[in-house]
Symmetry: C2
Subunit: 334 residues, 2 copies
């Protein structure tokens, strides 16, 4: 049994999801020869630390009761990474697509301290992919980020391992569940964008300020990560040609439907290096014509043809599950 | 560089696809540290053998010209396996779902001679999965069969590796492209089963005797393999409750469409051990509502929710690509 000392940096819905999944999958992990001992949990107020291993059930209860897990107020994620001996940083702080935010600072520090990183935090990867992967490599660290693209959808690992031998020619997909929900509901309800946006905000599917989703910024961040991770490109979000869904009308959806098509916000990476996000027509019956909040990625390959994977793009347990798969892939004996 | 001596047993469309893929991907394989040297190719008439490595381009040309690759007439796959020193048997003889056919005999012999097996041959696995996997294990052999289920669709490897940490609760999917094609075209053309079957036979999508596909036998074989491989069950094709598509009418498809649904031949494995193949309603916009000859598998998991993978279920290059992925996964240094 390998004991892995880990920190959970960020204890919002995803961080708590990770704690729940680690509790639920303890036996499974042990069977794989992995014992994850969480020695620190950090939220915006501070940290809880126990070098012998925290009781995660207690952490979740304290967080629910007091709104923070911190018994060391003011101790940041960066402090935990810099000061406490451990092996793995689970970086799940809120993402910042403009600066990389705390996530970028935390990941840099983790690698400098020879710690592995598993993350769902898109911002740092969409901005500084090359720098971070190089830092990880130079320090002999594992760096895994399946959860940054498509939540539960195992798209990066599938392209890297599941389709070995194939050359990947292009990738296009639906990488934002909020946009997919809005477009699906507009058609179902014969309603315009603004009405369905209100519904989506009420349901918690869209943020009060939905810009990040509906203008395609979130999608752009994800295709940048895929372009860099899978195609070995060196892109940032500024390289993406981008159009959102705010100008799509119900009439456009209805007209498309009459010719057997639907409109989806599609992010696309071509091998020539062009990256785009735009509303596109998709034939009904095509694997990308999935509705609701689903995400989907179609991978065009030289041998297998087009392979599509579809799944929930968000959700705390789903994302935590993706983080767990990454953890297992690092520490499992092969 | 690891040199792997291999035989290709069966040199129909899939065997020839394997030869083409091995030629096209020689550099790729070398970069992965793998050198595949094919020392024997066998078809129904006999074998070509060269212990220093056959020229596969020449084998393909000879096959095209003379209809057989055999320069040793009458030398069977079993002879090659029993008599010639090599590491890997690529077993791609025609499948026989009733007896296991030559494939079963070849696989048993391969393991007894400590040879690894990669195959697309469903019959032996649908009938004797436990026996074969046990034989492989006892002899320390690798046994990989991604191509037996869903051609190019990486469903077995995805469930085993890509979604590590997840418990798989059920699998349902479209595992037969011929049936999917017939149902799709019946609806598009407002035609009945028999008319579209004729079209499918003309196009080479259905066999002259389509029983194996349209009665769900092929689908049943595939879900048996998945049930055994992924759920660790001990099923054979006799355990599958099975209904085909021959009684579906155009009117049924039209009526379903009016309520936003489509009819697909669905194979399903439940955790309780029940296996079924039957026409089922699928909502338009669901990941299983794909049309044409596509295959799709929806995997219900405890953490990731429902993940669906879609791709071409057949085709010689697609199937050969899947065989190549398996070969790489065995011999690549990890």
């Amino acid at each position: 049994m390998k004991t892995i000392k880990a920190s959970i940096i960020g204890f919002g819905s995803i961080g708590q999801g990770v704690a729940r999944v680690l509790l639920a999958k303890k036996d499974y992990l042990n069977k794989e020869g992995i014992d994850i001992k969480v020695i620190a949990v950090t939220d915006s107020k501070g940290s809880a630390v126990d070098e012998n291993g925290l009781n995660l059930e207690k952490c979740l209860a304290v967080k629910a009761e007091k709104g923070t897990v911190a018994d060391k107020p003011g101790m940041t994620g960066l402090d935990v990474i810099n000061q406490i001996d451990h092996d793995l940083v689970i970086e799940v702080t809120p993402t910042n697509i403009n600066t990389g935010g705390d996530g970028l600072i935390n990941m840099r520090a983790a690698f400098e301290h020879k710690k592995d990183v598993v993350t769902s935090n898109k911002g740092p990867l969409a901005l500084k992919f090359k720098e971070l992967t190089k830092l990880a490599e130079q320090n002999g660290c594992h760096f895994k980020y399946e959860a940054t693209v498509g939540g539960a959808m195992p798209v990066i690992n599938l392209m890297r391992d599941g389709m070995a031998g194939n050359e990947i020619e292009s990738v296009k997909g639906i990488f934002n569940g909020t946009c997919n929900y809005i477009l699906t509901r507009m058609h179902e309800e014969k309603s315009n964008y603004s009405e369905i946006l209100t519904e989506a905000v009420d349901l918690g599917i869209a943020e009060a300020d939905p810009t990040y989703d509906v203008e395609g910024i979130d999608t752009a961040g994800k295709i940048v990560i895929l372009a860099n991770a899978v195609f070995g490109m060196d892109k940032t979000i500024a390289d993406v040609e981008r159009t959102g869904i705010t100008k799509i009308t119900y009439e456009a959806l209805e007209m498309s439907a009459r010719s057997g098509k639907t409109i989806k916000l599609i992010g696309e990476i071509k091998k020539d290096g062009s990256l785009s996000v735009a509303p596109r027509l998709v034939p009904v019956g095509h694997p990308l014509s999935v509705s609701g909040t689903l995400n989907a990625a179609s991978i065009q390959t030289d041998l297998a043809g087009e392979i599509t994977v579809t799944g929930k793009g968000a959700g705390s347990v789903e994302t935590a599950g993706s983080i767990l798969s990454d953890i297992i892939s690092i520490y499992r004996d092969n």
